[in-house]
């Protein structure tokens, strides 16, 4: 699976036109997941906080030895979370009345149907396997820790003390053991049957049966049946879930769906921005050209106007000059005529 995922682009390229011959299982966008996958049911009403599961997990996964031995109960005084040295931890919670015995709850990866970590990983280092476990491939992990940000259950941990080859560490539901047909380490080690391994759908009916038989012992809810789209790890308890740090406000929407609507805007931006921006660009180019043309025309018109004005001026000047000349001629002619008539008179008088 992780192999086929890694070579996605090669695969598509091999198929050719980019239309891979794959079909969703349904025409609608609802996906069945793996109905026959395995899961584990944790019944907190049975858990005695012996930490055998922690010890087994540590051994099976070859994790470093703990600071305090696994039979040291003082560890339970403090609330803990999973880290790079412990895939699973058990926490003790006081009963609400403080009279009955305390409640214990085991934390580990819940193996979501639609894992937030898997959708968040930009190298696809996480895989939801058909058997149920969500597994991690350290050979491609970049160490960006977005998976840890994304996980709604605060499960994955990082090897902060590893300078060059840090890994993300989390429960694998003992995937390698499942492949060998063995039980997960924690389930095998549990001495009181607080953990039940089986097909998830069978676990759901077991859980329902227990709740039906002992309505006084359990709250009528199976945690993990729908939380964050459903998980392969299920919990039933007699204590309100919030009090054993199982958040009830997470909702039933699988985490990846929160981002997919935003991601779906990406191709629209890429598709439409060039259209709009080249449009704006072309309009501005045109406006600039028009402005330039107008300017040029204005300059030409101005030149033309001055030329015409000057011509007109010259013409009027010429006319005036002509007129004046005519006037002068007229005057001169008149004068001459007068003079001749006067001299004529003179002659006649003489």
């Amino acid at each position: 699976m992780s192999n086929s995922r890694r070579n996605f682009f090669k695969q598509v390229a091999a198929i050719g036109a980019g239309v891979a011959i794959t079909k969703p299982a349904k025409a609608t966008e609802e996906f069945p997941g793996y109905p026959d996958s395995y899961g584990i049911l944790h019944d907190t009403s049975l858990c005695v906080g012996c930490r055998s599961c922690e010890a087994a997990c540590n051994e099976v996964n070859q994790l470093p030895p703990p600071e305090k031995p696994f039979d040291d109960k003082s560890v339970l005084d403090k609330k803990r979370r999973t880290d790079d040295k412990a895939y699973t931890v058990v926490n003790r919670y006081k009963d609400r009345d403080g009279e009955k015995k305390p409640v214990y709850r085991k934390i580990q990866c819940n193996h979501c149907f639609e894992p937030a970590c898997a959708s968040a990983c930009f190298v696809g280092a996480f895989t939801k396997t058909p058997l149920g476990p969500v597994i991690y491939d350290p050979s491609i992990c970049v160490g960006c820790r977005y998976c840890i940000v994304a996980c709604p259950f605060n499960v994955p941990a990082f090897e902060y003390d590893e300078p060059l080859h840090p890994r993300v560490m989390k429960c694998t539901m003992c995937y390698p053991r499942l492949l060998e047909g063995k039980l997960p380490g924690c389930v095998k080690a549990c001495p009181v049957g607080a953990l039940t391994f089986g097909k998830r759908k069978d676990l759901l009916s077991i859980a329902r049966e227990r709740i039906r038989k002992h309505p006084d012992r359990y709250i009528d809810h199976i945690y993990g049946e729908h939380e964050m789209g459903g998980t392969n790890w299920l919990y039933i308890t007699g204590t309100p879930f919030e009090e054993v740090d199982l958040r009830m406000d997470l909702g039933v929407t699988p985490a990846p769906e929160f981002t997919y609507s935003a991601l779906s805007a990406v191709p629209m931006v890429v598709g439409l921005w060039p259209v709009l921006l080249t449009g704006v660009y072309a309009i501005n180019k045109r406006n600039q050209k028009m402005a330039k043309k107008e300017e040029e025309e204005a300059v030409l018109a101005a030149i033309d106007k001055t030329r015409k004005e000057e011509q007109a001026k010259t013409e009027t000047a010429l006319e005036r000059a002509k007129k004046e000349q005519q006037k002068a001629i007229d005057i001169a002619v008149k004068k001459a005529l007068e003079e001749t008539s006067r001299s004529k008179d003179k002659e006649e008088n003489e």
Partner: protein
């Protein structure tokens, strides 16, 4: 400021500035050594509850937002046709390029196995991740910015032909830059969409990508103004007449644009509260802090910008620019650190280790040194005499 310019002119190596830079670089090298020999645990307060700290909140989220001046100025001049801001393009694109380079540089410290950063593109494509999109866009945009700023270096080297080729690509690169910036500026906000159970509802919204994109525009505009006023003091003598003449126009024009964008940004942030119906949270402690961000660093700079533009008061505009820039820093830190994991008890909350801040200061110092080198040697604040009228 005259003393500063004098110092630059005297070219003595042992100026106060250089000594401080030297010490920072030395400490930075030691911290780098520690990071790659002892691991992230030694140099940071990062934890399994807070896997992203100061480097992501400040260096990545804030760094990318503040480097938005490149695409904003490019778009204003080459696409929207505001030729009168032409002299602002080169400084803005240079800052953008160095900003993104610093972001990538900081990531080398932050991610576990930095040499694998090309893996998402060449080895295994996790296309369902918002991070994949951010990574692809940042990598491509860094290349685009490099090409956009390359004429500066090519003119300096006198490579006329290559330079003219690069200049021919200007419009293409600008449009590509706007597309890539829209995508990754918004996707940085979309990164947090996957964790509604961890981010405080006042900051979490389906509109986070839009908020990040719009606020990046205000950040870009304000950074151009803010940086312009700083560079005028330090490198005023480098600037040519055109640059000095356009300087005030740029501040006025960009100030007006910033005022309008901030006005719209405030409105859509309010819509964000309305869409989630989170009015009742406004008077909780986190709500008051949210109001400080919204009123003090969005509404107030919007108001100051508009007064500054009306009165043609450049001082006020520059102050508003500084306020906006600080507001962006605050917003990004709120989303990634302060309002993130708001449910955890105080004892489990994150506060940056001094070495984290030390490495960030180290990276910014390198960036500023490279900036100083480039603007003193290359035609950024002036047009190269041989290449005038060519662009």
């Amino acid at each position: 400021m005259t003393t500063l310019t004098n110092r630059i002119e005297h070219k003595s190596i042992f100026t106060i500035q250089n000594i401080i830079s030297g010490i920072i670089l030395l400490v930075g090298l030691v911290l780098t050594f520690l990071r790659f020999t002892r691991g992230l645990g030694t140099v940071s307060n990062l934890s399994n509850n807070q896997p992203w700290g100061f480097w992501i909140g400040f260096d990545l989220l804030t760094g990318v937002a503040l480097a938005a001046g490149g695409y904003v100025t490019g778009a204003a001049v080459y696409i929207f046709g505001n030729e009168k801001y032409h002299s602002a393009v080169r400084p803005a694109v240079l800052t953008g390029f160095l900003g993104y380079a610093m972001v990538v540089f900081a990531l080398l410290y932050d991610v576990g196995r930095p040499w694998r950063l090309p893996y998402p593109f060449f080895v295994s494509q996790g296309v369902t991740s918002v991070m994949f999109e951010v990574g692809a866009c940042v990598a491509l945009y860094l290349t685009v910015l490099f090409l956009e700023i390359s004429p500066v270096g090519l003119e300096w080297l006198g490579l006329k032909k290559t330079r003219n080729l690069a200049v021919k690509l200007t419009v293409l690169l600008t449009i590509l830059g706007v597309i890539l910036s829209t995508l990754h500026q918004s996707s940085l906000g979309a990164l947090f969409l996957i964790a509604p159970s961890k981010l405080h509802p006042l900051w979490y919204s389906n509109y986070l990508p839009v908020f990040f994109f719009i606020s990046s525009i205000t950040a870009g505009l304000s950074m151009v103004i803010f940086e312009g006023s700083l560079s005028q003091r330090a490198y005023g003598e480098k600037m040519d007449a055109k640059h000095l003449k356009e300087k005030d126009d740029v501040a006025l024009g960009f100030g007006k644009a910033a005022a309008i964008v901030l006005f719209g940004y405030f409105a859509i942030k309010v819509v964000g509260i309305a869409a989630g119906n989170h009015w009742n949270l406004l008077f909780t402690p986190y709500g008051l802090w949210f109001q400080v961000e919204m009123i003090g660093f969005v509404m107030l700079p919007c108001f100051l910008y508009s007064i500054g533009v009306r009165d043609k008061n450049l001082k006020l505009i520059k102050f508003a620019a500084g306020l906006t820039v600080f507001g962006i820093v605050l917003n990004r830190l709120n989303i990634s650190l302060i309002a993130f994991n708001y449910r955890l008890p105080l004892s489990e909350r994150y506060f940056p280790h001094w070495m984290e801040i030390g490495i960030s200061v180290f990276i910014v110092t390198i960036g500023i040194s490279v900036y100083r080198f480039i603007v003193t040697k290359m035609p950024v604040f002036y047009e190269h005499p041989e290449f005038e009228d060519l662009h």
